[in-house]
Symmetry: C2
Subunit: 562 residues, 2 copies
């Protein structure tokens, strides 16, 4: 498997910190070709500035770092974590299941070889970014994201409100989170909150019927290459434990999971056999592997399950349907809800964030904004306060399928009921009639809800509703969501967001084709399409031919007047 | 070339009129599989209603109509036109250029064989739909579109405000237009206005460097198959006159052009040689061939050209740059502006609509909503009144590249300055950084501006900015824009728009895969993706495997409670 990520004509550069001068915040720098203009007949060559691009590819795009997927990535954050002196390395892993897998010789050939023993907060200590933020401490992670969010600002003199102190305050008040499990020190810090760049999540994972560990690791790298900000491993097939280890050790972005999936696999798919003890062991297993956030469907309550009866599409969340069935079979309150404080106590020991899963999200536009959905949102609002009380970072998952005129209510209600906790939505899909194109139906909704304040968008691929995505689908899904997120950043006026658009537009107008490609979200595709078009000359192209090139004519007018 | 359009499990049906019982309004009917539910252990079979789908494929999808592309489509509207007794058939074509082409023996092998002599309004008569509407006359065309817009309403008892009288009033007041050149009687009536279904336009056309007549006709059919509501032939290459004839004779949807393109070809690309006389002859040539609407960049004024100087991307409209150059070279007012009343006099004789081209539309998000753009919009507002005064149907073209937060101002200003004339926008693209994916960057903007009131969306393909689209790009562009348009219809609450979504969602929930495919915008692609996913069983699929199918679990909960 290739373990290098390359971008055309880009250089991996690192920016230092001020509070923490040793920080090295990775970015991708694109050096532009100079512009040629005319003063009368004379050619004037003007340089164009370097453009910095937010970079999710981590060490994979640094030619100076040697990478061996079998050893995993450098443990960037480990010294920062240890310096805080509030965690201890355990003598062995805590989870019973984890130990069982470890001791199973038949799995040796699948196993990641260089597993470190896990860290956990010392007794009486708290090691979450939220805890530090509340204490007024700016961590290296916080300064890192402040630098990362401000790309191009210092260089081009753009004013920005995003300082390390601003980052700290947003985290302290729960408006943002910085997912950073102490057992995933390989991940580069990033932040999720509505006053920052809109982020996107990519889902990968095997199912009972498909895919190998290699394929999943390859998809993870692929997602990071194209710009995925976090990665959810939604595996429901075989060897979930081992697959996850490989992914986490090689993933430069935060990793999320839905622990109930693995718990259900452990009871061979028998929902009724799920127990709190089993789930608890699964949480600990995953906390100690380094998962950065868990989707937990604790918002499903026994008395709300029936609200989905009136729907066209019932319950379409896997976690939601599992927990609803559990509640009905046992005729009692969900153990996730009942044990939510216990869950938070565990998560706080590793700084794992909780993403409150929307088990009752609408699965069709008809079901959008209904009683079931909003009843769950109210419960989430209660739970998020309980998470914060334990210094656990938290965010809220959202729909799903919502027609455009009902999107705004989703956002406003979420902000109100969930006390400004970040929103993390799937799409929403704005119509149900385009299977095969649901990356597009959902990007339309995603761009809008991102603009309105959603902090992270969960990508959707063209195969949604039809099949598991392959690599090309992952690429298309990620780029589509980068578009939605970036469109939202522009509309929100994120500092520096417009820089890349302006540079690309100027390159387009000046027929600097290479810059146009290299500044784009997918330089490879842009070039392929361009080449397929039998391009003729640097100053026009096959679309219009020489006489009909508006930009050429327009530039000639410029020359004429000078 | 194939001259048949097929949709899976669909039947071509025709609905009759009430005022005009002889009308046969074509629709596509999808017969659904019945649902299977359970009452206790007993299976209950419930039928699902037929779903009607708006159909732009014309006679091509009717197996009972024999089609010979060399003869063209049946002349559906000819009897209605003749019955009004206000047009006459000319003894020969009026345009000098048209006659020259006709008499050129070297073109015989390219020529469409069965050209009819053109119709024109009798002296002192007016034959435009706007004229009739103002007289209080409901034409067969108006009743036709009323029926067409109300698909599924009568069958499912959905209330609708769209009556033939409503259509008439919207046209009379200029809020909608019904493009219907008397020389394109093959086209099925359709309506463009913000109180109707949002429409989409597809651009095809050769350029100096590519494509044959056959290819262009094939693309035209292809566009109609996937749902293009109108078709613009933007050819700028060879044999534009002959290519257009073939397209119009075989096109069941209205055809638009930008006559300045052909005029420029006639003077070998020398902008300075363009004259009113040449342009006038081109208009007449195209009116008599049957073009239904012309994009005319009459909004460019001599004194506004310099407003584009401040821009990042200058002028990106081909027509705009041509006319700007003409104004500067001759240092005088544009002949399109000066002769606008003369132009309208010509158009009225054939019922050709005018689409006021936005020559100063922004070509980058940076340039959006600037002085140049809005100065032109003001001129368009003046011109639309002049068109209406001559009973010429009119609409207004709009941008372009606009970030999301500036879209609303575009729509509101257009409504205000252009007196409620329909808006027809290209995208807008909400970011500039995704060449290769501009169907998506623009669909995000298109869905929003459609919801806000834009009546027709001009499609953008993945090759925008990079190359001319091939057939697959046309398909992707059309489907992407059908998504944007339909999302807008849902958000606007168009009567019956939600029917198809609900039917598809219900089919999805009940694992009626065939219905899910056949009700979708692109059944072929949905099936291909599904099959590639190694689907196993009717009641779950590879995405989740048997244990993780939320819909299956959710349905089981339903059974459990009964």
């Amino acid at each position: 498997m290739k373990s290098r990520i390359k971008y055309p004509r880009s250089e991996k550069v690192y920016l230092p910190g001020t509070i923490y001068p040793e920080l090295r915040v990775g970015m991708r720098k694109v050096e532009q070709v100079p512009s040629t203009t005319f003063a009368g007949e004379e050619k004037v060559i003007t340089p164009n500035p370097d453009i910095y691009i937010y970079d999710t590819s981590g060490p994979f795009s640094d030619p100076d770092i040697e990478i061996d997927l079998k050893k995993g990535l450098p443990r960037l954050r480990e010294p920062w974590i240890l310096r805080r002196n509030d965690v201890e390395q355990l003598p062995e892993i805590t989870s019973e299941y984890g130990r069982m897998r470890r001791d199973d010789k038949s799995l040796d050939h699948l196993r990641f070889e260089h597993i470190s023993l896990p860290y956990r907060a010392k007794r009486g200590k708290c090691c979450t970014q939220m805890y530090y933020a509340k204490q007024g401490i700016i961590t290296p992670e916080m300064e890192y994201v402040a630098i990362r969010e401000n790309m191009n600002c210092a260089e081009l003199g753009i004013e920005t409100h995003i300082t390390p102190e601003f980052v700290r305050r947003e985290i302290a008040e729960g408006r943002a989170l910085l997912p950073a499990n102490i057992n995933h020190p390989e991940a580069e810090p990033m932040i999720i909150g509505r006053n920052f760049l809109v982020k996107i999540n990519t889902n990968i994972g095997n199912s009972a019927t498909t895919s190998s560990i290699d394929e999943e690791v390859e998809k993870a790298l692929w997602s990071c290459k194209w710009g995925g900000d976090t990665l959810m491993d939604l595996s429901t097939g075989e060897n979930i434990h081992e697959t996850r280890e490989w992914i986490i050790r090689n993933c430069p972005v935060p990793v999320g999971t839905v622990p109930i999936y693995q718990a259900l696999e452990k009871v061979n798919g028998r929902v009724e056999d799920l127990t709190w003890e089993l789930y608890r062991d699964t949480l600990i297993e995953q906390c100690e592997q380094g998962v950065d956030y868990f989707t937990i469907h604790a918002g499903i309550r026994r008395h709300n399950v029936h609200l989905a009866d009136k729907r066209l599409c019932g319950i379409v969340s896997r976690g939601g349907s599992i927990m609803s069935k559990w509640c009905l079979v046992h005729d009692r309150e969900s153990f996730l809800y009942e044990h939510f404080d216990d869950i938070c106590d565990i998560l706080a020991q590793y700084d794992v964030a909780v993403s409150l899963g929307d088990g009752l999200r609408p699965g069709s536009t008809y079901d959008a904004n209904d009683e079931a959905q909003f009843a769950e949102l109210d419960t989430m609002g209660e739970l998020v306060l309980r998470a914060w009380a334990k210094n656990v970072q938290a965010f809220i998952e959202g729909p799903g399928h919502v027609p455009m005129h009902k999107i705004k209510e989703n956002m406003e209600r979420q902000i109100e009921k969930c006390h400004n906790a970040p929103f993390y939505t799937l799409g929403p899909l704005v119509t149900d009639i385009a299977p095969g194109y649901d990356h597009i139906t959902s990007a339309i909704g995603a761009a809008q809800i991102g603009w309105l304040g959603t902090a992270m968008l969960c990508y959707v691929t063209p195969k949604e509703h039809l099949a598991l995505p392959d690599k090309e689908d992952v690429r298309t899904g990620v780029i589509t969501y980068k578009i939605a997120a970036h469109a939202a950043d522009l509309a929100k006026g994120h500092p520096g967001a417009q820089v890349r658009d302006n540079a690309l537009s100027k390159a387009r107008y000046e027929f600097r084709w290479k810059d146009q490609f290299d500044l784009s979200l997918d330089p490879e595709r842009a070039q392929t399409y361009f080449r397929a078009g039998h391009h003729i000359d640097g100053e026009y192209c096959t679309m219009c031919g020489p006489n009909f090139c508006a930009m050429r004519l327009s530039r000639e007018l410029g020359k004429k007047k000078e």
